[in-house]
């Protein structure tokens, strides 16, 4: 079965949609685009008119939020619970103060010195949220950043929406390297190249895994990094210090049941450092961890990179790839 691929840019990152039914690609693309437009206007941290920006500006008083923002907020609070606070949506101000205060394409690669203060962030437990009434109360001074789980949630929602319109077969959606799948996979599974940077071309050298279902996500300190006053900073904040993490792993990839779960685990592993090995093992999640010196560790049922399973790839008769980035 030939699969069809369409790629474009949205939310400041790359979007890839793969369908097993070539004729359904156009419908899937429209469904994914619609979800991403809603996500952008609802919880982009960089849009002055987004609902999240309004919520952050309303800290100190209760606010009613839309179903989509409530879903994203609930996902981020679940991430915090499951990771014992290693992933925490209340790092918003810390991310901004570290210099990540605009769409990343506009961040100066080497900016002047800034003063960074270590301070324990307010923490997710200070957020009052009622999922039924969708009322939120942020303590004064707290800013939410739903970036990590928010992007993965967008991938999951987009894959579900696209699967709803393709009628037959399956869909894979990659949003900046966070990958969600829905429906029946192609024979052998969905092909995913594991890399440190999601901009690496999919035909590059490296391990390609085949996943039958679920989600895959990679968190890395090697991307979205910048320099202020000679110090290298990056976008993954340790909630315990409010500063970019300093730990043994530069990149972690996890396969889980959804993109959100994979993202939670990958980001938590970067923050947890050494402790991530036990934590991932307990959860039984296949994971690939890259040490700062490049040494790679595999956890759980991560497939052996040298044990290539013969793949029932069809002859290249219909494999249409459109606009591959």
């Amino acid at each position: 079965m030939a699969v069809a691929l369409k790629s474009w840019k949205a939310l400041g990152t790359s979007v890839h949609v793969v369908t097993t039914d070539e004729a359904a690609l156009g419908r899937a693309e429209v469904a994914v685009s619609d979800v991403l437009l809603d996500v952008d206007s609802t919880y982009s941290r960089f849009r002055p008119d987004s609902e999240l920006t309004h919520l952050n500006a309303s800290a100190g008083r209760p606010v009613s939020v839309s179903p989509l923002l409530a879903t994203a907020l609930a996902a981020s609070l679940r991430a915090a619970r499951l990771s014992n606070g290693a992933v925490d949506p209340t790092v918003g101000a810390a991310v901004r103060l570290a210099g990540y205060d605009d769409d990343f394409s506009k961040i100066v690669e080497d900016g002047g010195p800034i003063t960074l203060r270590a301070w324990r962030i307010a923490g997710w437990r200070t957020v009052r949220f009622d999922a039924v009434s969708r009322r939120v109360l942020l303590p004064a001074g707290v800013e939410l950043d739903l970036g990590s789980t928010g992007k993965a949630l967008a991938a999951d929602l987009a894959a579900s929406a696209a699967h709803g319109v393709v009628k037959a077969g399956g869909v894979m959606v990659s949003l900046g390297g966070d990958i969600a799948t829905a429906g029946t996979p192609p024979p052998g599974g969905w092909r995913i190249l594991i890399a440190e940077d999601s901009r690496v071309a999919p035909d590059s050298d490296g391990q390609v895994i085949c996943a039958g279902s679920g989600g895959v996500a990679t968190s890395s300190t090697t991307v979205r990094r910048w320099t202020r006053g000679g110090t290298v900073l990056h976008h993954i904040i340790d909630p315990a210090t409010g500063l970019p993490t300093v730990g043994p792993w530069r990149t972690v990839t996890v396969v889980a049941a959804t993109a959100v779960d994979a993202n939670i685990a990958a980001t938590a592993a970067i923050v947890q450092g050494e402790a991530a090995i036990d934590w991932l093992t307990v959860h039984g999640l296949p994971a690939r961890l890259v040490e700062n010196d490049g040494t790679i560790h595999y956890i759980g049922p991560w497939p052996d990179p040298d044990e290539v399973t013969p793949h029932p790839d069809p002859p290249p008769q219909g494999g249409r790839e459109i606009g591959a980035a």
Binding site: S160, M172, G176, A201, G212, T218, A256, P303, P305, V308
Partner: protein, 103 residues
């Protein structure tokens, strides 16, 4: 054909969200449109969000729909991070490969 209190016409985000709200309010809801699966998945996302565990994708066997669709609902409602239904394998490059990396 089953009966429902409310029929939501259109399975776009607005329809799915409306269905989720109505269900939360106790109504039985039928979403009319092509996105039956999307409706189920989207509705489940909210409950997943409030669950307290991470799931890897292979251990979610309680939800039969997860074997093929791995919808967010499968994970969402669990108290852990379930793994996906089948352990991944290593393959060669081929058509439709996408990259997972940091971004």
């Amino acid at each position: 054909m089953s009966e429902a209190d409310v029929a939501v016409v259109g399975a776009g985000l607005a329809g799915l969200v409306a269905a989720r709200e109505l269900r939360a309010a106790g109504a039985s809801v039928a979403v009319l449109g092509v996105s039956y699966v999307a409706a189920a998945s989207y509705a489940g996302t909210s409950s997943s969000a409030s669950s307290t565990a991470l799931n890897s994708s292979s251990s979610t066997g309680t939800d039969s729909s997860s074997t093929t669709s791995a919808s967010p609902s499968a994970t969402a409602s669990s108290d852990s991070l379930p793994s996906s239904t089948a352990a991944p394998t290593t393959a060669g490059n081929g058509s439709g490969t996408v990259t997972s990396g940091g971004s």
